[in-house]
């Protein structure tokens, strides 16, 4: 995303936003979130609390409501460029969250980037690379509730010089099926913002467990999870090539960031990698804890 010129930035800054602005550092994406709805701005402020920083952000991601000939439109803009126009507030809000996450992935340059959740214990991280719907957010939420520290539910960024996983402690986004398993984790959505939040089940990590957010952590274990309804627990160690394939398929920007495939192979050389299929969250959580005990007693 190109930097905003000064005139459009000044115009954006002068707009009639409502409520607090939220300056968040989403790994390599430095963004200010703004809306024209006071309650929604306050909700976002809390939702992104673990990622908030001070100062002026490089980018502005906004949700505004505009009058149109037959009602109102909700528009999502990134640095003054229109991303979406919709009459549905929940669609606009979903796009805002998606865009923030997408830019975190696209604007983070340097680290190896995996589509994965991750948690840590005593500074050692377990990574869960998996496609959407595999249950990686649910699993990490269960582990954090059980005492592990939260790194991310979406984007694992591994610094190439230090080898550490950099925290991206965004809210955990639970699937509907997961909120049935972990209903106690999903906070009530304030009434004024329900029209925006819709069916999303968004869980700030501090809600799962106070003090849950992890600092940078050293990767020690990789598990590729897959939720299958009622399936018994299956856990198998992957051979090196299978492991590279499984992780590479969840690696962002392989083409953009030369050396990423070698970096994945390097991870596999150092870390045991398992494939796990589970139908019960408790089984999956306990299996991961058992593996962690093995690799970091």
């Amino acid at each position: 995303v190109p930097e905003l010129a000064s005139a459009p930035r000044a115009a954006l800054d002068a707009y009639d936003w409502a409520g607090p602005s939220t300056h968040a550092r989403l790994v390599g994406f430095d963004v200010e979130l703004r809306t024209t709805d006071r309650a929604l701005s306050e909700y976002l402020h809390e939702l992104y609390a673990p990622t908030r920083v001070d100062g002026r952000a490089a980018h502005v991601l906004s949700l505004a409501t505009l009058e149109v000939d037959d009602g109102v439109d909700h528009v999502v803009d990134l640095d003054g460029r229109r991303v979406l126009t919709t009459p549905a507030p929940s669609v606009a809000f979903a796009q805002l969250l998606y865009e923030a996450n997408r830019q975190a992935i696209d604007e983070t340059r340097g680290p190896l980037l995996l589509h994965a959740s991750a948690a840590s214990r005593d500074g050692l991280a377990v990574l869960f690379p998996a496609p959407m719907g595999a249950g990686k957010s649910t699993l990490v939420a269960a582990l954090v509730e059980h005492g592990l520290a939260y790194l991310t539910d979406e984007l694992v960024a591994i610094d190439r010089s230090s080898g550490l996983v950099l925290p991206y402690p965004k809210f955990v986004s639970l699937a509907p099926v997961a909120s049935g398993v972990l209903p106690r984790l999903v906070p009530a959505v304030p009434e004024p913002v329900r029209r925006f939040v819709g069916d999303h089940r968004l869980v700030p990590p501090e809600t799962v467990r106070p003090g849950a957010v992890s600092g940078p952590a050293e990767p020690r274990l990789i598990v590729t999870p897959r939720y299958e309804r009622d399936a018994p627990l299956r856990l198998e160690r992957l051979d090196p090539a299978e492991a590279v394939v499984a992780i590479a398929e969840q690696t962002y920007h392989l083409a953009r960031d030369p050396g990423s495939l070698e970096a994945v192979a390097g991870l596999v050389e150092r870390l045991p990698t398992y494939r796990m299929v589970a139908g019960r969250l408790d089984d999956a959580r306990d299996a991961v804890l058992g593996l962690l005990d093995e690799v970091s007693p």
Partner: protein
């Protein structure tokens, strides 16, 4: 395996790794990344892969493998050849097919217009599809056969043949010319489609054809013409223009505009000349001979339909007003006319232009044509 990728009898070196392909070998097996796809090669394929360095020949590799595996050299040679052909087909090794010559111009083929939907896919094909080069893009237009011929003649310098879209993709634009009827009801509407959207409709075919030309022009290289596309609807009165937010219901908007004394512009964006502060209405950048289209329109027999005083004549109109859908001022202008991040007009300079316009042109809160009319009167006074 096509003839061009067959290696039979080739004594040249095996092809090297294609550009942009990255691989690692772990546990004796190669994992290869190409164009977003991950390939896992078997141990044998990995051996072949590692030898494809642009130096080793097929015969050398086959002979070496035959010795190493104590296998029939002829069989090994055939297996290696098949493996290499497969790797070429997957795009992992360089193809022997010639690429485009250095310096060759590239064009973007416009397909899948915004608003495409399932009903577009199941609609019967257009009787005629013409393809036209506009700027650096190739744009398909679906029509009837007689209109297709007239359009190709009118846009001869741009015409590059029939339907060039692959896989049965629908053309970007389509024109439905209604047949005259003996009904006593209103004359039927002629339509300009972009995907599932009807973007111009009129009982006079000449307006729809002008609309097509204007839409085609906006696919061109606008920066090269010194024009900036602004995501706005244009209202014209007294030789001047107002830019307002694009309506969600264009038919009602057009009616209201006419009642408020304004004409509308049949174009998807306002083409602004930043040097003069004018909106360019028409088909800039197109080399058009309008005679074939005029003759076609005359043959349709709708010349007796009164000309609609709704669409603004082609020309240049000084921008006299910016109507915002929110607070006035530069920030309201930016929010009202924010350029789309993606699509045909992304990054064509609109963001900077909006900031300039906001300081140079009166800005009022105005969405509907009657709002603009009130602001217009206010400005005159």
């Amino acid at each position: 395996v096509t003839e061009s990728t067959s290696l039979a009898g080739v004594r040249d070196a095996l092809p090297g790794v294609a550009d942009g392909v990255e691989s690692v070998v772990v546990g004796g097996e190669a994992v290869v990344h190409s164009a977003g796809r991950i390939h896992h090669l078997s141990a044998i394929a990995t051996t072949v892969w590692e030898c494809c360095d642009g130096q080793v020949t097929l015969d050398e590799l086959a002979a070496e493998l035959a010795v190493a595996f104590s296998a029939d050299p002829v069989r090994v040679r055939a297996d290696v050849e098949a493996a290499v052909a497969e790797l070429v087909e997957q795009g992992l090794l360089r193809s022997r097919e010639p690429g485009p010559p250095a310096g060759a111009a590239t064009f973007e083929l416009l397909v899948d217009p915004p608003g495409s939907c399932a009903s577009c896919d199941t609609a019967p094909p257009w009787p005629d599809v013409g393809s036209f080069v506009v700027g650096r893009r190739v744009v398909g237009v679906g029509t009837s056969r007689d209109l297709g011929a007239a359009l190709r003649e009118a846009l001869l310098p741009h015409s590059v043949g029939g339907d060039l879209a692959p896989n049965g993709e629908r053309p970007y634009f389509g024109v439905t010319v209604a047949e005259p009827t003996d009904d006593r009801g209103p004359r039927p509407l002629h339509l300009l489609h972009r995907g599932a959207d009807v973007v111009v409709r009129s009982r006079r075919v000449d307006r729809v054809l002008r609309g097509l030309l204007a839409h085609l022009a906006t696919c061109g290289d606008l920066p090269a013409m010194g024009l900036v596309p602004v995501e706005a609807a244009v209202l014209v009165r007294d030789g001047r223009a107002a830019l307002v937010r694009r309506p969600s219901r264009p038919v009602a908007f057009e009616r209201r505009a006419a009642r408020a004394g304004f004409r509308v512009v049949d174009a998807p964006v306002a083409l602004v000349d930043p040097e003069s502060g004018e909106v360019v209405v028409g088909a800039p950048g197109l080399d058009v001979d309008v005679d074939p289209l005029t003759r076609f329109a005359d043959r349709r027999g709708d010349a007796d339909v009164p000309a609609e005083p709704v669409a603004a004549p082609w020309g240049r109109y000084r921008i006299a007003l910016l109507g915002t859908a929110t607070q006035p001022g530069p920030s309201g202008v930016l929010m009202t006319f924010a350029p789309a991040r993606d699509g045909l007009w992304a990054d064509d300079g609109a963001l900077d232009l909006l900031a300039e316009l906001a300081s140079a042109v009166p800005v009022r809160r105005a969405v509907a044509p009657h709002d603009v009319a009130a602001a217009w009167t206010d400005l005159r006074s």
